[in-house]
């Protein structure tokens, strides 16, 4: 198990490396740049900007700069003698300058927003699990009964409603019409009510998804021999459900929980956009439109790393849930 873990962790490195190369080349291949504006900057100004931000180098060199020479500077923006920006690079923990937020480094931007986003994601994740799994279990136990139809109804609504529709609906109903919540909370640190609507909006789809997976998986194990055996041995119904059924039914569910958690804690563009959440999720989309190369790379790498780590966690969890799975 130990050797397996080390191998898996080491594998994450080439994965991230490939992701970074692909993203870096794709984003530079897209026409336009961070200085494209409706009111055009004169060519000489663009030249100066490119020089200052080292965008006048070939993309290959820019990539190497981004990965960074191993110099362990502080993350802040630094300048060389010609006043061009110097940054340590990824390996030194320095994600470089933002091309849109000129006063700030990508490190600042990520550090500012990431905890809000992670908190929002964790809350949504917990809500999704504690609502989604019981919903699926109850639906399966009362298969073709009213609870089943009710749960299926809920999860179809959850799956079929895009997040932006759900978010806007929640905003219109509970903030604007009923006035229960501020449409733009200014104090996320001290005002717990700020979180309610975004957490619900972000959880609707995962709840539905988890409920459907749990239901399908529970229905499958219901027909298994060991469940029938347990019933025929006279094991109590509750015990059959908890020990024999849920534990086995959760294996496929855990598979989706990993990537789901990775998705939730790295932020959702739509939810953060609509509820003015000061997180990092909105940068997924805005940074691309702005060609804010540093932020695009940071967001992609964060998401890739989160996915890779969560997949690893899921694989490890399998071994605990299902003793038949052994890694070597």
């Amino acid at each position: 198990m130990g050797a397996y873990l080390i191998r898996r962790v080491l594998w994450i490195i080439p994965v991230l490396f490939v992701v970074s190369i692909i993203t870096f080349s794709l984003m530079h291949a897209v026409p336009g740049g961070p200085w494209s504006k409706e009111k055009k900057l004169p060519p000489s100004v663009i030249e100066h900007l490119d020089q200052k931000y080292n965008l006048d180098e070939p993309v290959f060199i820019q990539y190497l700069n981004w990965v960074g020479p191993l110099q362990f500077d502080e993350g802040a923006l630094q300048r060389d003698e010609a006043d061009n920006l110097v940054f340590g690079g990824l390996l030194a923990g320095d994600l470089g300058p933002s091309y849109k937020y000129l006063d700030r480094s990508v490190n600042d931007i990520v550090a500012d927003g990431i905890w809000v986003t992670v908190q929002l994601g964790l809350m949504s994740f917990i809500l999704s699990v504690i609502v989604g799994i019981p919903l699926g279990v109850i639906a399966a136990l009362r298969h073709n009964g009213i609870p089943d139809y009710a749960a299926t109804f809920v999860s179809i609504i959850g799956i079929a409603t895009p997040t932006f529709v759900a978010s806007i609906l929640l905003l219109v109903v509970f903030s604007i019409a009923l006035g229960w919540f501020q449409p733009n909370s200014l104090d996320w640190r001290t005002d717990p009510s700020s979180w309610v609507l975004p957490v619900i909006a972000l959880s609707l789809f995962p709840i539905a998804q988890i409920a459907r997976y749990t239901r399908a998986s529970m229905l499958e194990v219901t027909r298994r021999d060991y469940v029938r055996t347990a019933h025929s041995k006279g094991v109590k119904e509750g015990s059959v459900v908890v020990v024999h059924m849920i534990r086995n039914a959760l294996i496929p569910v855990v598979t989706i929980l990993g990537p789901l958690l990775a998705f939730l804690i790295t932020g959702s563009f739509i939810t953060e956009f609509i509820f003015s959440v000061p997180g990092i999720g909105r940068y997924y989309v805005t940074s691309i439109g702005q060609r804010d190369y540093g932020v695009i790379m940071a967001m992609t790498m964060l998401y890739a790393a989160a996915i890779a780590i969560m997949n690893l966690v899921v694989d490890v969890l399998y071994a605990y849930i299902d003793p038949r799975i052994r890694y070597s």
Partner: protein, 557 residues
């Protein structure tokens, strides 16, 4: 049976929804609407700036959110009055030398920054050099092009040229603490407008060289307000700057600036009284106009901007480059009155010329009115000129995606198709890709807009349509026009300039290089308790030039 099942599902759904919301019901704050009370109002203005401003460094700012904040945090040499006439700002007065090449600004006495330090003429020298310094790479550095040494610095390469020496030769100086002298390479009558821009405000070198100088704890303001909070991506709070003496003291104690990215959520915040000034997304205009309460709060007005479509004249073999008649035909075939009603929700007025109403030099002349018969005649003349038939025309109209331009483009396509039986193919691109396509190889017809940096016709003619302008995407170039513009630039007074700018505009319009569609219009919501708001046609956010002198009347909350 079926009915019972569905009902069961509905009941279950209701229960689940109730469960989801039950815990939320308790955490709400008591909404004050049930206990009306009229207390003396706090002098606080709450506005939305639509997102995190990219920078609060005055030298670097180029976008509307940053400028909206900077207009209250900084103050330039010259400012505007309510009608956009130039009035003294930090400068008490200025003299222009006889040859028009030297402007001497005399600063008001006892000016102070928010940190208590005096504002001295040397701070302008530093600020202006910082702006033109190629190592700063400021987006608006080109406004310094007319100053002695300015165009050389714009073209300089910091890795080759001796920038410090070039900056020493740059034509700004401070003979004493209250006198700031600008030497121009040539007379430029509009230059005093440059001295109203947020990029030309005074800056302390000791401040801008501080690490993180734009953060609230370090910010040094030269304007009526000072920065007290900048919570990134959440809000900015400005408070009255008690050290400010360049004009009447601000009446507001505080300006709270929210950063609501979603326009619908921003309107929602206005409707729940969380904002005092609200902007209306185009899809909500009709609802607001019909709403008995909201419709009372609408403020409309003109904006110095223009929505236009340009013709590709860069490609010498393109049909529009070759035939003036075709350009005329495509312009005359558009019924712009109807277009405003249909495609712009009736907001705004038809632009019949480049220089918009409200700007000096505006001409109330309808260049190219809608005339279907004339359009068809011109179209036929154009085709025979080129020796082609309508079927040989393969035209594309380009626009940027995701910004509500589809219906405008469709309208124009429809008009051309009716008039000439020609199908113009629409092509939309993502914004960045669209802009880069325009500078390299524009579409036959392309959409763009232009807003005023300063209220002077130079900004709508020279900066947009002269041969050397980088914003002249279509590549229109007429030496006669350029000569008129150069002549106008050196005239001392607006009265002498306007006839020349008019002549230039008449020539441009006769050449029909672009189809002017619509003059900008504002459609803003203002709470009834917001008083002394001064909107100008120069604002990109309503009232931003004079935020500090708004007063808030007592009202129920």
């Amino acid at each position: 049976m079926w009915f019972k099942r569905v009902m069961g599902a509905m009941v279950a759904l209701t229960v689940v929804l109730a469960a989801c919301t039950a815990d939320t019901g308790t955490s709400q704050e008591p909404s004050g609407s049930s206990t009306p009370s009229v207390a003396p109002a706090e002098q606080v203005l709450r506005v939305d700036i639509g997102g995190e401003p990219p920078t609060l460094d005055p030298t670097a700012a180029t976008d509307s959110a940053s400028i909206q904040v900077l207009r209250s945090l900084t103050y330039p040499l010259a400012y505007f009055d309510e009608d956009l006439n130039i009035v003294p700002g930090l400068a008490e007065s200025w003299d222009v030398s006889e040859d028009g090449q030297t402007i001497t600004f005399h600063l008001k006495s006892d000016l102070k920054y928010s940190n208590g330090d005096p504002i001295v003429a040397g701070d302008f020298v530093y600020s202006w050099k910082r702006l033109i310094d190629p190592r700063t790479a400021a987006g608006y550095s080109y406004v310094m092009a007319d100053v002695v040494g300015g165009s050389e610095l714009l073209g300089a390469d910091p890795e080759v040229d001796d920038i410090d020496a070039m900056l020493d030769a740059f034509g700004v100086s401070a003979p004493d603490d209250s006198t700031f002298v600008v030497s121009l390479a040539h007379a430029a009558s509009y230059f005093v407008y440059i001295a109203t821009l947020w990029v030309t405000v005074p800056l302390q070198e000791s401040w801008t060289s501080t690490e993180g100088f734009t953060e609230a704890e370090n910010y040094v303001s030269s304007g009526p307000m000072k920065l007290t909070t900048w919570e990134h991506n959440a809000q900015i709070v400005l408070e009255a700057n008690e050290n400010w003496s360049a004009g009447p003291a601000p009446t507001l104690e505080r300006i709270e600036m929210a950063m609501i990215a979603d326009p619908a959520a921003s309107l929602g915040a206005y409707e729940t009284d969380d904002l005092d000034i609200g902007s209306v997304p185009s899809q909500d205009v009709a609802r607001v106009q019909e709403d008995p309460e909201l419709s009372q709060e609408v403020l409309q007005g003109t904006v110095l901007s223009i929505y236009y479509f340009g013709f590709d004249l860069k490609d010498p073999n393109g049909p529009f480059a070759q035939s003036l008649n075709l350009r005329k035909a495509f312009t005359e075939a558009i019924d712009r009155e109807t277009m405003i009603t249909v495609a712009f929700g009736g907001i705004g007025t038809v632009a019949y010329s480049l220089v918009p109403p409200g700007m000096p030099g505006y001409q109330d002349t309808k260049f190219w009115e809608y005339n279907l018969e004339q359009a068809q005649a011109d179209f036929a003349a154009g085709l025979s000129e080129l020796g082609i038939t309508a079927a040989d025309l393969h035209l594309q109209i380009g626009f940027n995606a995701d910004s509500n331009h589809e219906n405008k483009v469709e309208f124009m396509q429809g008009q051309w198709s009716t008039a000439f039986g020609v199908t113009v193919e629409p092509v939309s691109l993502e914004w960045g890709a669209y802009l880069s396509r325009l500078s390299e190889d524009p579409f036959d017809i392309f959409r763009l807009g232009w807003g005023a940096d300063y209220p002077h016709p130079n900004n709508f003619l020279t900066d947009l349509i002269s041969c050397s302008s980088g914003n002249n995407n279509g590549g229109y170039c007429n030496e006669e026009v350029d000569a008129l513009l150069a002549e106008a630039a050196v005239k001392a007074t607006l009265d002498e300039q306007v006839p020349l700018y008019n002549q230039a505009q008449e020539q441009v319009m006769a050449d029909a290089p672009i189809i002017t569609i619509r003059n900008g219009a504002r459609f803003t919501l203002i709470k009834p308790w917001v008083q002394n708001l001064v909107p100008t046609s120069q604002d990109s956010s309503t009232g931003e030039l004079f935020y500090s002198w708004i007063t808030i009347a007592p009202h129920e909350m």
